[in-house]
Amino acid sequence: MALTAQNVTIRFGGVVAVNGMALDAAPGEIVGLIGPNGAGKTTFVNCICGTYRPNAGTALWLGRELLGLSPHALLKLGVARTFQNVASLHDLTVLDIAKLGAAARGDAGSARSGGFFGSEKALEAELTETLLRPLYLADVAHTPIQTLPYGRRKAADLARALAAQPQLLLLDEPVAGLTSQEGMAMAAVIRGVRDRFGCAVIMVEHKMDVVMSTCDRIAVMAAGSKIFEGLPDAVQSDPEVRRVYLGEPG
């Protein structure tokens, strides 16, 4: 396994938000993380990608401990994430956002930012061709992100994460707020990303149809702990999952 997280625990005051959570993911695999609201899914992701510092646990990525590293350091190790809500970044264009992502990967890039004096033309062309076009963003490359519809903003956020050329990609509700048509398109993009870059993907999501059709494996969280892990088909038939998650009486 490329990522192996074990016993991840974080407390806020007296509340245990994530309790002994374990999860792993292999390159080229899309792992879905589902669960009811407040189950601790996003908090878990935040722990893995450096936003929160968990109270206990380990998360090994290619043999290195991730927990406690800053997002900045994590990006250098090839760990990138997207956000549930895309921040409002008034002035930045789609291309700007992508460049920010590319900048974060550090020395790994082929065409780097030109710095203060140089030109960024080469970088722009590369990003447009390899990222924006596959994400259907090439036509809005120079449009301020604020003026785009929600779905395209999420795509831009994904482009930013991908520009860092991650090997582990954490997606926080990538299709939330999108229409179901947009959602399916995004799901296709995510699969395409996996196929193309071969990265491991962990995806927090509510929309079951997207999860079912996209993920290779699914973990279910409730009240901070994992209650199930298995193939998509098995999830829906598990009685415990049906009870806590789908609301059926046990």
Partner: protein, 305 residues
């Protein structure tokens, strides 16, 4: 020893006025998340209002109460007319708008009352207590006690009355307050009104001590270190920090500076340390921010995304 005692008394008197102003700033911050630069302006306006009313022949108690009423109105009006349209504006904009208010209020008083200091009509009886080498005027005692009593009274009000409870509720969690039927925006207006009235009273007290001029508005700037040292959202903190700062400044003027200068003059070429008390609050503030950024009484909060 008598010097130290007298310095302490003087410091407590000024400190209690600082505390009154700082309480107002904290109150507004708790309720609306705004750091109000215009608090000093409220103090100044309150003092001028008292002055006008006293000159009109009102008895002292009535005049001061009426001026507090006027200030409450001005406070509520500020909130409605200036702050409410800026509900969604970023914090720098809101801070600047209160700075704009300060500039306007000063300019208005300058235009109406002129630049010179005006003698404030006596509110307290003249005379002084002189005992055991300590010498202090009635005016000083009265202003100090009044300010301290009001600060305490206000804390009690906030802790124990229904209205205080509603205020606290609205300040702590406006959504929850709305849900249990508290009219939050009215509570915010009320906070501004109360805070302006408090500042107005503080300004009046200060004017009885220091005379009346637009320089009164400067006290707002001293109050900022006070609120940060106390903890931006802690009323008790504002009270304690105000008193501490008042006493510290007084000791700096009366003991620390001369002692320091005596040593420096005897041993080095340095003759003076200048107006040291002026930077003292800020030095204290920096120290506090570095050691305990949440202030004396503040709580550290977790941040959510």
């Amino acid at each position: 020893m008598t010097l130290a005692l007298q310095l302490a008394v003087a410091g407590l008197a000024t400190g209690s006025v600082y505390a009154l102003i700082a309480l107002g700033i904290v109150l507004i911050y708790k309720c609306s998340g705004v750091v109000n630069f215009a608090q000093g302006a409220y103090a100044m306006l309150g003092a001028y209002a008292s002055y006008v009313l006293l000159r009109a022949g009102l008895p002292a108690v009535l005049a001061v109460l009426a001026s507090m009423g006027v200030m409450a109105g001005i406070g509520a009006l500020t909130e409605r007319l200036v702050l409410r349209p800026m509900l969604k504006a970023p914090v720098v904009a809101v801070m600047m708008v209160t700075l704009g208010l300060l500039i306007c209020a000063r300019a208005a008083c300058l235009a109406v009352f002129g630049p010179d200091q005006i003698a404030f009509p006596p509110v307290f009886p003249a005379g002084a207590v002189s005992a055991g080498g300590i010498f202090i005027t009635y005016n000083y005692i009265a202003a100090g006690i009044l300010a301290a009593a009001l600060s305490l009274g206000f804390l009690l009000f906030y802790a124990a009355t229904p209205m205080g409870l509603m205020q606290r509720c609205a300040a702590d969690n406006s959504r929850a307050a709305l849900a249990i039927g508290i009219h939050v925006s009215n509570q915010v207006s009320a906070a501004w009104a109360m805070s302006a009235a408090l500042a107005g009273l503080a300004g009046t007290l200060l004017a009885t001590l220091n005379g009346l001029s637009i320089g009164l508005a400067d006290i707002g700037m001293v109050a900022f270190p006070v609120v940060v040292v106390g903890g931006l959202s802690s009323l008790e903190g504002a009270l304690v920090a105000g008193l501490v700062l008042g006493v510290l400044q007084s000791f700096t003027d009366g003991l620390l500076t001369p002692a320091l200068e005596d040593v420096l003059r005897a041993n080095t070429g340095i003759y003076s340390v200048g107006a040291l008390q002026q930077v003292l609050p800020y030095a204290l503030l920096v120290l506090m921010l570095l050691l305990r950024p949440q202030g004396l009484f503040g709580r550290r909060g977790a941040e959510r995304i």
